[in-house]
Symmetry: C2
Subunit: 212 residues, 2 copies
DNA sequence: TTGCCCATGTAATTTGTTACATGATTTA
DNA sequence: TAAATCATGTAACAAATTACATGGGCAA
């Protein structure tokens, strides 16, 4: 009852980030913290923020304490510093499977800095708004291309079908972000062009022709 | 040099959440922490997560310490408990305008729980994947509708044009989320139907006809 | 007149980041 | 042989949540 591992095992559930790390391990490979960080940078990154090194290390400790992962030191052949590698346990597989199947579907968390800036449009010059949007557009397109490239390089075995599918989702998501920025550039241009002509409330910004 | 207010005023910049709260105040009204929370729930919420009460209270303290906001107690008419209301200062306006204009455009932070689950598709039954997607779809549609409703009810003055514009962006964003979920449902169906027929690598899931 | 929600906060805890420490290996 | 980089962590700090405390008004 006062056993810590038991406390974690039953009862209180882990935070999503722990499940994300355990999820990385659930593909079956034995990995070090460093490996996990690198892998998470090119996979989770597209739809889930990639935790820092230090957090990955502490999540690994927590998972091991909970009995969901086990670790061992491996001595390097060529004299490199020894490292600790982690592998998921059977209990870990059971737990992460259970989480994936049964956890409630809660809404995505979005912190969209560029939109926060535009929401404060009354503080900006039109040119500055455009600059924010253009940079965001470039970011989105860069991410989209990365998702495409990663999907092309992805392993083709059946086990990897779902990671590949989410890359496809990411491709579309970032394409949409890019297009949404373009649409907003249009909207701002329309707003600007319609300004000065007496703020008539009838001039509702519907869907005017693309350009003035 | 050792003055705390000065430390905050120049030099080290505030976290984005502080700017978000100061941004709420930048529309000029005198508001309590409670008011700010409620307002943030129906505005920031669409593109930036809405901070908890306690965080709003501590951000307000920080802003006041930095000289960006001032507060006063107001006694309630009908004997309700007194409350503290905050108003942005001139320095605050200068600072938030400067932030909005000059801060680097950094990428949005996304923590997409549903996608994390699907990325772990090897742990799920197809039916469970569909369930996750359907629920996400419903959430997205609910948010979209809310954005539309809020935009309809929004104040029409020029100062509110940009908040209204971001609501329009939100409407499109959540429409896209909804559609992306639908597309992924199709992809999963295609993957399932193509399974068992020898994992031929040629069976690339392109854009097959909507239904089998 | 008890229970519940509005409103206002503070305290304790958890989550996550940045800065630092260490040492070996590769590259310039 | 100095600098950059890989690899592994720890420590200090910041951000954010949950739980708790308090009191008034209102509905049952």
């Amino acid at each position: 009852m006062t056993n810590e591992a038991a406390d974690e095992t039953n009862g209180r559930t882990l935070p999503a980030t722990s499940w994300a790390v355990l999820g990385l391990l659930s593909f079956g490979e034995e990995l070090s913290g460093y490996d996990l960080k690198k892998w998470s940078d090119w996979s989770l990154r597209f739809f889930y923020w990639s935790p820092s090194f230090s957090q990955i290390y502490s999540e690994l400790k927590r998972l091991e304490k909970a009995g969901y992962a086990s670790s061992r030191m491996v001595a390097q052949e060529t004299g490199t510093r020894d490292k600790r590698v982690y592998r998921i346990t059977d209990e870990g597989m059971t737990a992460v499977r259970r989480w994936a199947r049964e956890a409630p579907v809660d809404p995505p968390v979005l912190k969209h800095g560029p939109m926060l800036r535009l929401w404060l449009g009354h503080l900006l010059e039109p040119e500055q708004m455009r600059e924010v949007l253009v940079q965001h557009q470039e970011f989105a397109e860069k991410m989209r291309r990365r998702a495409v490239a990663d999907a092309d390089g992805a392993r083709k075995e059946a086990a990897w079908a779902y990671p590949t599918l989410t890359l496809k989702w990411a491709e579309r998501y970032y394409a949409s972000e890019r297009d949404l920025a373009a649409a907003m550039l249009d909207d701002i241009a329309a707003l600007e062009s319609g300004r000065g002509a007496a703020g008539s409330p009838g001039a509702a910004p519907g869907k005017p022709g693309k350009r003035p």
